[in-house]
């Protein structure tokens, strides 16, 4: 029958797509990255993109610190200053910590649960491309001069009244990024719930997987809230709606309620992944299991719930009234309890261990040490009346940098040092890594500890400059010096990273004596990760394959050969089993391209000479639909 097909028969769409997809499988070089659906490659792209934005956000921070180093400076002008701190906050939250966490979800989740990829590989690629394009869109103002200027929190009505297209880029950029986060959130929930290796019950999951799960739920529940807020802002800006305009019955506080109802869960979206990473690293380097696994897991889940009931602690001075302020003060105190539990359990993990002071551990301990300070200063915010003084001062800036830099960024760096070898097959230099750690720790504390004092001395946030005689000069100078030390530490890190990729010591599959499944497969892992899907018998499965108790109750290593680990897996892989892997696809990228087209159209079409932009809206919709249909119709796998 097949031979009877006449040659001139037109190729059906399905066949064309099938052909395209098989062709994509043969792509080499950059094209192979563009069409990739491999979670490891997507993870690498997420990580590198996020790191580049980390450098950009860091440069913005340097401008802020240079401007504030001394009183009465004008390194930039006030408008530029506002733009730079707006972009600094927006970048660090949405373009650095979130995607860096996403990088770890991508890289680690399948490896740690014994899966070959995520549940929806193409959705995963879509998620990355949407993130990249949304991030570029958000930063497009650097080219046109329309830079967002109303703060990362975008308080209405200032954000409604902001002139130019800066806040349009901000608002639509965040909408696009929200789509990316939602796609990622659903993907990881389904992956974690459905694709765990046989035997890996929920309570055998590594804590990092638990925290990814909680974070993903927070993402899919919190993003819609800011989406609504941003839609309302969009209606106010584009169509003169009155959501936030009190003259026509709107309310500026509506924005704050919506924004922080998103914003507080967002804080946990930023910190829980780092907590998960640290919860993996401390046991490995203390060489004993996480102390009180159920407590750590349940406190993470609890944080995920209570995190929804504390948003008004960002609004204590807006006049909510004493009863509401008291209620949100108390709820904020309550959330400190599960957070404290985590810290004590980490201490319990180290206590009685045999601690290997390698760089991943140093960064993890640094995370815990700095997070303690940030957590404690957070308690002072829960004491509402004292927050009446601290609100919107540098004291708050100190607090959240201890949590988000001292906490999240240190945690993410510990993850980079820990898992670098898994994906490169080489080790980061320990010596240079330690220089990086001590510089970053010292620079971080020099920069942000004085902010506590600045806040208590009455220095408000977001001020362009300040006069002499306020008592702020010394602390600002110390802080700026510290910022340069942090910058130096980043140069050391980049040197280490690039050098180690090229000439780092070769890493074994399991250089840290790891406890979780990713250490049972080669470094770097083959595209299919696991030649044979592992069967899980215990929490810390990899460790239990290596160690047993002897008859005297001592823990001894399983003699080589008796262990069913790396070698046998590699052998199985080398035999060349035919493993079905998802084929590459370019449709996620095509679909993603439609989104910024629509956003550009919306941004510009109402301008005096903006007629050209109107067609971009339907064109973007068409591109998006082409992407989605191509994606839907092409064959799923070989």
């Amino acid at each position: 029958m097949a031979s009877a097909i006449p040659e001139q028969r037109p190729v059906s769409i399905g066949e064309a797509l099938r052909g395209l997809r098989h062709e994509a499988a043969t792509y080499k070089g950059i094209l192979s990255w563009i069409a990739t659906v491999d979670h490891k490659r997507i993870g690498v792209m997420y990580g590198i993109t996020a790191f580049i934005f980390f450098l950009i956000g860091g440069l913005e921070a340097m401008v802020i610190r240079i401007q504030l180093a001394q009183p009465n400076q004008s390194v930039v002008d006030p408008q530029q200053y506002n733009q730079i701190f707006t972009m600094h906050g927006t970048t660090m939250i949405f373009l650095v910590v979130m995607p860096m966490s996403a990088a770890f979800f991508n890289l680690m989740v399948p490896l740690m649960i014994g899966a070959r990829d995520v549940a929806f590989p193409r959705l995963n690629a879509f998620s990355y491309w949407v993130f990249l394009l949304g991030a570029l869109f958000l930063n497009f103002g650097w080219i046109t001069g329309d830079i967002p200027d109303s703060g990362w929190f975008g308080y209405a009505p200032l954000s409604v009244q902001s002139l130019g297209h800066g806040m349009d880029f901000w608002m639509l950029g965040l909408q696009i990024l929200g789509i990316s986060s939602m796609a990622g959130g659903f993907n990881f929930i389904v992956t974690i719930l459905n694709m765990r290796a046989p035997g890996m019950s929920l309570f055998r999951m590594p804590v990092f997987i638990w925290m990814t799960l909680v974070t993903s739920f927070l993402i899919i529940l919190a993003m819609p809230v800011i989406t609504i807020a941003l839609f309302e802002l969009g209606f106010d800006r584009f169509f003169a709606a009155n959501f936030f305009n009190p003259e026509n019955g709107g309310d500026p506080l509506l924005w704050q309620h919506l924004f922080w109802l998103f914003g507080h869960p967002e804080v946990y979206i930023l910190i829980l992944p780092a907590m998960g990473i640290v919860s993996e690293i401390l046991p490995t380097f203390a060489r004993k299991p996480l102390f009180g696994y159920p407590f750590v897991v349940f406190s993470g889940i609890l944080i995920g719930f209570i995190g929804w009931g504390v948003w008004a602690h960002h609004m204590f001075t807006t006049g909510l009234g004493a009863p509401a302020n008291a209620a949100f003060g108390v709820s904020t105190m309550i959330i400190a309890v599960p957070t404290g539990v985590k810290i004590f359990n980490w201490l319990g993990t180290l206590w009685g261990g045999s601690i290997h002071l390698a760089t991943p551990l140093l960064f993890a301990v640094g995370m815990v040490a700095m997070f303690i300070i940030g957590g404690l200063s957070g308690v002072t915010h829960a004491v509402v009346p004292s927050d009446f003084q601290q609100q919107d001062t540098y004291y708050v800036v100190a607090h959240f940098h201890y949590v988000l830099f001292g906490g999240a960024i240190f945690g993410l760096f510990s993850g980079i040092y820990y898992w670098f070898s898994k994906f490169t097959g080489r080790m980061l230099s320990e010596g240079i890594g330690k220089v990086h750690f001590w510089l970053m720790l010292a620079g971080f504390n020099l920069t942000f500890f004085p902010h506590h004092m600045l806040g208590l001395l009455g220095m408000p946030r977001r001020i362009y400059s300040y006069p002499e005689g306020m008592g702020w000069d010394v602390y600002n100078m110390i802080s700026t010096v510290g910022a340069f030390v942090i910058a130096a530490s980043m140069l050391v890190f980049m040197f280490n990273f690039i050098r180690s990729i090229k000439r780092g010591r070769r890493a074994s599959a399991d250089p840290w004596d790891g406890r979780t499944l990713e250490w049972t497969i080669p470094s770097p892992p083959p595209p299919y990760n696991f030649a044979t899907i592992p069967v899980v018998h215990a929490r810390d499965e990899a460790w239990h394959r290596k160690y047993v108790e002897d008859d005297q109750g001592r823990i001894v290593r399983v003699p080589a050969g008796a262990e069913h680990d790396v070698e046998s897996h590699e052998a199985a892989g080398a035999e060349g089993h035919h493993i079905h892997m998802p084929l590459p696809s370019i449709f996620p990228l095509i679909a993603a391209i439609g989104l910024p087209m629509i956003a550009f159209g919306l941004t510009y079409y109402q301008d005096t000479h903006g007629e050209w932009a109107l067609p971009l809206i339907p064109a973007g919709v068409v591109v998006l639909l082409i992407g989605i249909f191509g994606w839907g119709l092409e064959p799923e796998a070989e």
Binding site: G250, T317, L456, L457, P460
Partner: protein, 265 residues
Amino acid sequence: MFHIKNSRTRFGVMSQVARRLPLFLLLFLLLLAVGCETDNPQNTFAPSGDVADKLRDLYLIVMWPLIGIMVVVEGLLVLSLIIFRQKRGQAVPRQTHGNTRLEVAWTIAPALFLFVLAIPTITTLRDLATVPDGDVMEIEVTGRQFSWSFRYPNEEITTTNQLTIPINQTVNVTTTGVDVIHSFWVPKLAGKADAVPGRSNAMWFNATEPGTYSGQCAEFCGVGHWEMTFTVVAMTQSDFDNWLRDQQAGNPNSNTSDLTWHPEE
């Protein structure tokens, strides 16, 4: 196989941990002490009014125990690294999975501590929400890009960027914003009251000593936010009465009458 590598560097780093962390803590306390002692125009630790006094006291009640907790917990962290650092050829440690009793204890202990903190929090909130009995001076504060106006509804005057009050007089400010959100803040006298368009927000305070107090907008409100400063001048009742008479007469010698701004016009 697990090998103990780089033992020399590790011991070097170990002593660095031991030496440096306490040093950091000491540095922090020192910096904090400096903050307490200097007297600067917006120092929340040098209050000149009953409300700011309450807020400072409450902060200190909270701060000292928190510093204590910080020192203990950070100390335990560093100590655990020192005591339990890996020794050459050390066997795998006992694989303890937890200790329910201990964990319940360190869940309940912070909960109790926070419960104790909640008490002064709530009582202070109640105190601040209740304007003290007796004579109260009403002021309507309006924030706009980028200046402040202060209307005295009973005295029928309005001033700009300077609020003049008698000492030991309870002042009740009602704040609102015209264009965007601002926040009224005089650190030495009281906390913040946001000035939100379409809403009014109230806060009472007093000044216990005569003087000029520095105030500043505390909510980001645009390009001039950093310059949106104002002063509160507190004077004795008789000085205030004189000032008020000058104002009501439109006396040009008065330091603020030329700045008067009438939002209704």
